[in-house]
């Protein structure tokens, strides 16, 4: 058996999760090596966000086996918290605190020097607005701060739900190197061309079930059309 350090970033076997009677995810099996990118495609309600939340240790899997960075979930969730960066639909920022205060708060939770937050705010072009409350920022600006939050602790696994949503082209260029290749990534995107270009492995979900699990090099955008029909 592989040690935690050499184990795949994500290993799923027959993963399933339900909300009451409604099955949100079922029968997902795949393995994502370290440093690789998994692109997840599917229509709204296909189970993409549920998958991300299970991998982030925020939801318990109900069926199957889940291992993240070599640790079984939910049993060893404590061992991977702090090694995962989650960029969700919501920015997970306190609206009444400034961008700087939010990052300072998360720096303390993750035991990271505050300078790291300042550095990231500079990189995404938010240094000038960093002292304004998050509620006064546009959605795109809040998204840039949320990217800083997700990357603050240099995670080994990045979970990205539409990371470029609400970003103008300039901001998208600024954040691209930050969320680009390096750590293992699970990327949810509705931009099929862009998602495929970034991916090593593709998972296509339809009503919670995997329709497609394949290397990105073996499929094209046309193969994914059925997921959205």
């Amino acid at each position: 058996m592989a040690s935690a350090d050499s184990a795949p970033a994500v290993a799923l076997r027959d993963l399933g999760r339900a909300y009451g009677d409604r099955v949100a995810l079922a029968g997902v099996t795949l393995e994502l090596p370290r440093g690789a990118t998994l692109a997840v495609f599917g229509a709204n309600g296909a189970g993409k966000t549920t998958l991300l939340r299970v991998l982030a240790t925020l939801l318990r899997p109900h069926v199957g086996d889940v291992a993240v960075l070599g640790h079984a979930l939910p049993r060893d969730g404590w061992a991977v918290r702090g090694r995962i960066g989650l960029l969700a639909h919501e920015p997970l920022l306190y609206r009444d605190l400034s961008a700087r205060e939010n990052l300072r708060f998360h720096s303390r939770l993750h035991d990271v020097p505050e300078a790291r937050g300042r550095e990231l705010l500079d990189t995404v072009g938010m240094a000038r607005r960093a002292d304004e409350p998050v509620r006064s920022l546009s959605r795109g600006m809040a998204q840039r701060v949320a990217i800083c939050r997700a990357l603050l602790h240099q995670p080994e696994l990045l979970l990205l739900d539409e990371p470029l949503a609400n970003l103008d082209p300039g901001a998208a260029v600024a954040v691209a190197p930050l969320i680009g290749r390096g750590p293992a990534r699970v990327l949810i995107s509705h931009d099929v061309e862009q998602g495929l270009a970034e991916a090593d492995l593709v998972l296509g979900l339809r009503r919670g079930r995997p329709e497609l699990v394949a290397p990105a090099s073996s499929i094209g955008a046309a193969d994914l059309k059925g997921l959205y029909a």
């Binding site: 982030a56 240790t57 925020l58 939801l59 318990r60 404590w78 918290r81 702090g82 995962i84 989650l86 969700a88 919501e90 920015p91 997970l92 920022l93 306190y94 609206r95 009444d96 605190l97 205060e101 708060f105 998360h106 303390r108 939770l109 993750h110 035991d111 409350p133 939050r149």
Partner: protein, 220 residues
């Protein structure tokens, strides 16, 4: 834990969503009691009852707000993703609620003395502070537990008082019995130690209970 407490106090200083509402509620209730009881002043058991019922209802307002930012702004997720012991959230929230209660009482108790109380309470201030602090600790511990439960439901404004008020009955009995000898017209009597012990036991029991179950409240 310091980060969590600091964050909550900073947000409260900036928004003033909890403490001003709790204080305004307390003062309004004292005024209402003044007219409803049709008395110029109260003392002894009646004074202690009015004071504690008012403070506990005001505390419910704070308890209802305690986890709102965590729920509505993703604070729970942000916290759960960090390599931090989950119990630290409980301790931090209880500390924040305790600070809110103390801040409210710093103004509400003098307001009570001015608006309703017959005897001057100054002789018994140290004893009164001891009772207030012990009771606040119990309210903070129980309130944090109930607030975490209530925030998981859609009807937290209903669930929190329904759960908290019955569980606070032992606390209000002990706090009122401990306080009433301090507020007598004839002058303050000695603080009844056994009611302080009851308050201490209440704090201890709910503290242990909260430590045991709080982790499970954060699970999905």
């Amino acid at each position: 834990m310091g980060a969590l407490v600091g964050k909550d106090l900073r947000v409260e200083l900036r928004t003033g969503e909890a403490i001003p509402a709790m204080l305004l509620f307390s003062v309004s209730t004292f005024v209402l009691f003044h007219f409803a009881l049709d008395r110029r002043s109260v003392e002894g058991e009646l004074a202690a009852g009015v004071l504690w019922v008012t403070l506990l209802f005001a505390a419910v307002l704070g308890i209802t707000r305690l986890f709102v930012a965590e729920r509505e702004q993703g604070g729970f997720d942000g916290f759960l993703l960090a390599p931090v012991d989950r119990t630290s959230l409980f301790v931090a929230k209880a500390a924040v609620l305790f600070c809110f209660l103390v801040a409210v009482e710093l103004a509400a108790v003098p307001a009570f003395a001015i608006l309703l109380l017959g005897p001057t309470p100054w002789d018994a201030v140290p004893e009164l502070v001891a009772v207030l602090l012990l009771a606040d600790l119990g309210v903070a511990v129980l309130g944090t537990l109930v607030g975490a439960l209530g925030i998981q439901t859609r009807a937290r404004e209903v669930i929190v008082p329904i759960l908290a008020l019955p569980l606070m009955i032992p606390l209000v009995i002990a706090a009122a019995r401990a306080t009433s000898p301090l507020l007598l017209e004839a002058g303050a009597e000695a603080l009844p130690g056994r009611w302080l012990v009851v308050l201490g036991l209440y704090d201890l029991v709910f503290g242990l209970l909260a430590f045991a179950v709080f982790d499970f409240l954060l699970e999905d």
